[in-house]
Amino acid sequence: MKIDMNKRDSVIRMTGINPRTCMKCGKCSATCPSFDEMEYHPHQFISLVEAGRVDELMASESLYNCLACMACLERCPRGVEPAKFVEAVRNLKLREHGGNHLAPEAIPEMLDADLPQQAIVSAFRKYSK
């Protein structure tokens, strides 16, 4: 269990939100449409960031299964906006050397004739730097 307060501070800077405003009600995880696909659930992103355990989150596939639907962000009673924490942690990962999740070479086999380019652009925006 590695504690990295610098990473914690980076995440807080990126989100602009103090994770301590979370009252641990779990509404984010209750509303999350991707809950079963995620190893770490939205509320855990908040508490692990708060504890400085960002590395565990960065190593997790959960980063790429967040649907960015912003339901947690909308419904959080304390304005904590967990989706921002997921994105911030993902950015930390992507900005590392070799941290890109999606390589251009992988794209062609994912394509089909109807796929809107919106999907490809957004995938690059979200999964590589």
Partner: protein, 259 residues
């Protein structure tokens, strides 16, 4: 009424139906759409991390263009709408971002964010009025039961988007009523269809889009309409053959008799 019409990348290729009918209907409704010169992609996803300035600059460019011409930006695609509206909000309310955006781009007139970003549906509601549309309908879709699919991007975050009540929206239902059809309210109309993971996690995208369509079908919908090309693709591709999915502009064109 003149709007700066921002189609966005997908509308010129994969989502032609959304674009073509939107322009035809605007013509029929007396709304003038002027496309900005040399427009580029809006950025597609709004970065939730506050330090991503560059990702928002292409949207800033669109807003600056509209601001300098004193017109509102009209969008049809949900994703473009989400990015542009949130960026306009940031420009207006976040001085740090505004300064950085102006420092990056050498505009003749500095961008202030004092520009309205209007979705086509909002234009129909607030500028044209659903009552007017009702009068102009020539082929009413009487008896058709239609489910509105809002998805995430039109509604959330509610505070910045100010589109409708994010938990119980009514605008597309009003729109459906104006066309003479019967709106079907189903609980998953504002839940995610899983569009963003369609490339990487097909099973998840399938599960989510099927939940949406099955919920609509269960509540009696015969088809579903949306404003988002990615949602449409995902619901069609991954939602099974549960229900047909259309762009809302397509139905509008049909009802107005301009299809």
């Amino acid at each position: 009424m003149i709007f700066s019409y921002y189609p966005g990348c997908t509308l010129r290729t994969r989502a032609k139906d959304l674009d073509v009918y939107a322009r035809k209907c605007a013509l029929a409704l007396g709304v003038e759409l002027v496309e900005p010169k040399d427009w580029q992609c809006c950025g597609v996803v709004y970065p939730l991390a506050g330090d991503e300035i560059a990702h928002r600059l292409s949207a800033v460019r669109v807003l600056q263009d509209a601001q300098s011409r004193s017109v509102s930006v009209l969008t049809v695609c949900s994703a473009c709408h989400n990015v542009l509206k949130q960026c306009a909000y940031d420009l207006k309310n976040d001085a740090d971002f505004r300064n950085k955006a102006n420092a990056y781009s050498e505009f003749d007139i500095p961008v202030t964010g004092e520009v309205d970003v209007v979705h086509y549906l909002e234009m129909l509601r607030d500028t044209v009025g659903f009552d007017t549309i009702k009068q102009k309908v020539v082929n009413p879709l009487t008896g058709k039961k239609i489910g509105a699919y809002y998805g995430c991007l039109l509604l959330r975050p509610g505070k910045k988007m100010g589109f409708d009540d994010p938990e119980n929206p009514a605008i597309i239902e009003e729109f459906i009523k104006a066309l003479g059809a019967e709106p079907v309210i189903y609980p998953y109309r504002n839940e995610c269809c899983g569009g963003y993971v369609t490339l990487e996690n097909k099973p998840l995208a399938q599960k989510k889009s099927q939940t949406v369509l099955e919920s609509a079908k269960e509540m009696g919908a015969e088809c579903v309409i949306t404003a988002c090309p990615l949602c449409l693709y995902n619901l069609k591709k991954n939602g099974g053959d549960t229900l047909p999915v259309y762009y809302f502009t397509e139905l509008l064109a049909e009802a107005l008799g301009v299809k």
